[in-house]
C-alpha cells in the first residue's frame, strides 16, 4: 500500500513536469525572443556594469555568483568522495591479501 502511494506520487510529479515542459515548448508566448527580457539585459548592460568583454564569465561569476559557488562546492564534494572511496582501494594489494586469506 505504502509503495503504491509512493509510486503514484512520483509518477504524478513526472507527468506534471513533462506536461509543463511540453506546454512551455508549444506556448508561442513563452518561446518568443522579445519576452526573454533578461537576455537582452545581460547583452546590453553586462559590459557596462562590470567592464568585462566576456559576457558568459560576467553571468557565471557575478550575476549568478552564488550558483557558481554551489557548483564549486559540488566539485569539491565529488573530489572528496572519490578520494574517500579510493583512499583504501589499492585493488592489486586487496586482491592479493584476500587470496592469501583464502589460501
Amino acid at each position: 500500500m505504502n509503495e503504491k502511494i509512493k509510486l503514484s506520487v512520483g509518477l504524478g510529479c513526472i507527468v506534471i513536469v513533462l506536461g509543463f515542459m511540453v506546454f512551455s515548448i508549444f506556448n508561442a508566448d513563452f518561446a518568443r525572443w522579445e519576452n526573454k527580457s533578461i537576455a537582452s539585459f545581460f547583452i546590453d548592460q553586462g559590459w557596462r556594469q562590470l567592464s568585462a568583454s566576456n559576457t558568459v564569465t560576467t553571468i557565471v561569476w557575478e550575476y549568478r555568483g552564488y550558483d557558481t559557488l554551489g557548483e564549486e562546492t559540488v566539485l569539491f564534494t565529488a573530489a572528496m568522495g572519490v578520494f574517500a572511496i579510493g583512499a583504501g582501494l589499492f585493488l592489486a594489494e586487496k586482491i592479493q591479501s584476500t587470496r592469501e586469506v583464502k589460501a
Binding site: S51, N54, G65, L75, A79, G86
Partner: protein, 134 residues
C-alpha cells in the same frame, strides 16, 4: 611508456600548463574561464602521468599539496564572495574595457576557481591512477 611518448609529453606539458594559465587569467576578456582552464591544466598533468607513471608525478606534485591547495582556495573563494561589495566599489573606477585589468573582481574569481577546479580534477585523477598500481 616508450621514449616517443615521454619526449612528446616533455615537450607538450609546459605548453599545456601555460595555455591553461592563459585561459584562466584571461577568462574575463576571451572565451574560457574557470572550468575550461582548470580542465586544460589537469589534462596536462594527466598526459604527464600517462607518460612517466604516478610515482614520478607524485615526486613533482604531492597529493597532500593538492589537498591543502584545494582547501585554501575554497576558503579564499568564500572570503572573496563575502567581500564582493567592497572589492567591486574599489576596483571599477580604474578599469578599461578589453584589457587585462577590467571586469572588477572577475580575474580573482577566475584564478581562485581555476585552482579549485584544477586541484579537484587532479585529486580524482590521482585516486583513479593509483588504484592500478601493482
Amino acid at each position: 611508456m616508450n621514449v616517443i611518448v615521454r619526449t612528446g609529453a616533455k615537450v607538450m606539458f609546459p605548453l599545456i600548463l601555460l595555455f591553461g594559465i592563459y585561459v584562466i587569467v584571461h577568462g574575463h576578456t576571451t572565451p574560457g574561464g574557470t572550468f575550461s582552464g582548470g580542465s586544460i591544466m589537469a589534462g596536462g598533468f594527466v598526459i604527464y602521468t600517462l607518460a612517466h607513471g604516478v610515482r614520478k608525478t607524485e615526486l613533482d606534485l604531492k597529493e597532500i599539496t593538492i589537498n591543502v591547495l584545494k582547501s585554501v582556495s575554497g576558503f579564499i573563494l568564500i572570503i572573496l564572495i563575502l567581500s564582493e561589495l567592497l572589492l567591486r566599489a574599489a576596483l571599477v573606477p580604474t578599469e578599461t574595457l578589453f584589457t587585462l585589468w577590467s571586469g572588477s573582481s572577475l580575474m580573482f574569481f577566475n584564478i581562485v576557481g581555476g585552482v579549485m577546479v584544477f586541484t579537484g580534477l587532479l585529486m580524482i585523477w590521482y585516486t583513479i591512477a593509483k588504484t592500478d598500481v601493482e
